[in-house]
Symmetry: C2
């Protein structure tokens, strides 16, 4: 089971202070770049697919996401593997794929009481704190996350992805 | 400089005997699989491009070949990098690329007097010996190759690629 809660924050410095104040351990800090592509003739928005190149620190991966497999769950086919970012990007360009969206963020990743806490600074969107719990017991996870959320002074819940938020923002 | 000569052979066993008889050293032996793709909407034959997935023993690479850069030389842009064969093949299929041609061969690679000698068994085409010399002096290379060709009892010269030969054969 994986539980993930994302909260937009206004005061980044205050959030960082609270995270550190609770004794969180900084695991790593890196830039993440997600580059989404448009198919030469297919509208991925209509077919509900996505093609993404990700640079996550030194890790570079290509991800294909297929359409949702049923209406109720969010299950999708996902195929992901390592590629050299720059070369793959060039080849996709040569094959007629256009760069449609770029999500760039700086991520500081902490561990706090068994919860992964990410402080994300997303270009064009601002800062967010993401709390993620992985484990067998969903109730324990939810309680841990809610408790941490309170003690970190966080309010709200953003269920949309950064890509969706950027897309909406750029459409306006 | 790289000089490469390819000769079709009728009697594989005799060719192998001659190669071994001259004291060639077997460097390695493996199956090579070249899978060529057709673009969803572009005709690579017209645009003079190619997209190829290659499995060469344990090495798996994707290669994009751009159109010839000028009429006189055979210079092309070539972008090549490691990918996991099976996953990349699946993603290309999902994106609408169709498998257009498969060149499968068994290659036994020898070194003989500084020349790379490959005994290729190509599915659907038969057997070939390829002689390849890499070095500064093109005259020395040509002489070496011609001398070896004679001593190996090889006659003829096939300048077309296996892909071209298969394409012609299948068109008939």
């Amino acid at each position: 089971m994986e539980i993930e809660v994302k909260v937009p924050i206004k005061d980044r410095a205050a959030a960082l202070d609270r995270i550190n104040g609770l004794g969180a351990v900084l695991v790593n800090e890196r830039d993440q770049e997600d580059l989404y592509f448009a198919h030469p003739v297919r509208d991925f928005g209509v077919t509900d697919e996505a093609l993404r190149l990700r640079k996550d620190g030194h890790r570079e991966v290509l991800t294909y996401k297929g359409p949702k497999l049923d209406g109720r769950s969010k299950t999708r086919e996902e195929i992901e593997f390592s590629v050299p970012y720059s070369e793959m990007k060039t080849v996709l360009g040569k094959l007629g794929f256009r760069e449609s969206f770029k999500v760039m963020k700086h991520r500081a990743e902490f561990v706090l009481e068994g919860v992964r806490v990410c402080l994300d600074d997303v270009d064009g969107l601002g800062s967010f704190v993401e709390l993620e719990f992985e484990g067998q017991d969903i109730e324990v996870g939810l309680q841990k996350i809610e408790s941490l959320k309170k003690r970190l002074g966080l309010e709200g819940n953003e269920t949309r992805s950064y890509l969706e938020l950027l897309y909406i923002k750029n459409k306006r």
